[in-house]
Symmetry: D2
């Protein structure tokens, strides 16, 4: 997934604000799912969310306004109610590693209660766990 | 209502991004209602929203990180399904006028259909219309 | 310019927050300039900004998470230190008009003082003014 | 530091978006410094930034629109060029722990190069390291 740093995403240090990465990681997650035939919109409409239970970002280089960034996503763990994704943010121009991220998710119903990830999602996700030994 | 410009609200021009004002105006609107005994949260929970149907902002001076700003709100029009609010954003330090804003709202139900503003809101709002001749 | 509504851009009404449009209009403006050979990043690096002096948005329909939107930009006025752009936001799926916007800009130097739009920008911009009679 | 969840900070799950916490933690950091006589704005103006080098957030409970939240900040590590802060986000109404966070910072000059934290900052910060054994 490729995106450009928006002007609104910069701060007065002249670089992309660190909170912007969290939003980019979410956008990359939604695209990663779509490419695997999974619509996060449809999941939400069915009443299930993949709530973020924890978040980590390591910032390696800064990203500037108008930089084109490439985000790659890896599913590193999948359990009945949880999954973990990792992210790499690279600058398209020179391939520099800009940031690494990780998010843990818990499947929840509309009341926020933990539920099983729907079975129609588990099968395609299983095919994409990066290292099956970690599941 | 008083707030401080957050670092995340600045951009690489070194000033508050113009979209931040839209969010401040919304926060000021919610506080203005609260001070009049009206909980926007409760209105939403009852199934009614005051959707923004149009928005205008005039930027007069820039606001910088950590500036304390004072937002004042005026209800300038109130009809059965619509209302209009205007906003003044001033810098606390010197009273300088930073921006003027205006939002039009339409009361909607959860499906987005226009509905009447609930009667328990109309009475207190009526008492606060800036110029009754405009209603 | 085409974009998808990000999850972070929605609010609890279940639709894109009205402040998101302001950020999309900015992103569309930067792309519109790029397509005309004008790099807003390079302009900023040269010390000139096109500060937003006023903003108007009319919201016609709501946009939902994951909707693909098409933004079109028109330059409607161009003076020595000012320009005005208008925006149309349409939903790709059905072509529905979601919003109309307008921004006025003033060219400023790093201290925020009004300056002339650089001549190397004026010529290409002149070729794209929608209706020369309005300038 | 106390804040209220803004409507714009919610998402279509009806709760505060997970990226909002990152911005609140930053706002709390700036206030924590101010209470110790340290102006982050002045630091930036002197050419030194405390860039975020890594970020962690654990989400325990959701926060809703209009919830009043209390953020407490602890300085847990201080070195010549680095510092680490931790954060607790609690709901004022019932004291519930909403989230825990941690940010690592590196002092940088305007070019992004690591520099020493200015001596006039080190002394007051030293007095506030939570557990001197961790420095």
């Amino acid at each position: 997934m490729t995106l450009r740093v928006r002007f609104a995403e910069t701060d007065q240090m002249g670089i992309a604000h660190h909170s912007s990465y969290v939003i980019w990681m979410e956008a990359a997650r939604v695209e990663w799912l779509r490419e695997r035939g999974l619509s996060y919109k449809a999941l939400e409409e069915s009443g299930v969310s993949l709530a973020v239970s924890s978040l980590r970002v390591d910032y390696r280089k800064s990203a500037s306004f108008d930089d084109e960034l490439e985000l790659s996503v890896t599913l590193t763990a999948l359990r009945s109610r949880h999954l973990t994704l990792t992210y790499e943010v690279k600058r398209s121009a020179d391939g520099a590693l800009v940031a690494l991220g990780e998010t843990d998710h818990i499947a929840t119903d509309r009341s926020g209660k933990a539920v099983r990830i729907p079975s129609e999602w588990v099968t395609p996700l299983k095919a994409h766990v990066a290292d099956p030994s970690t599941t």
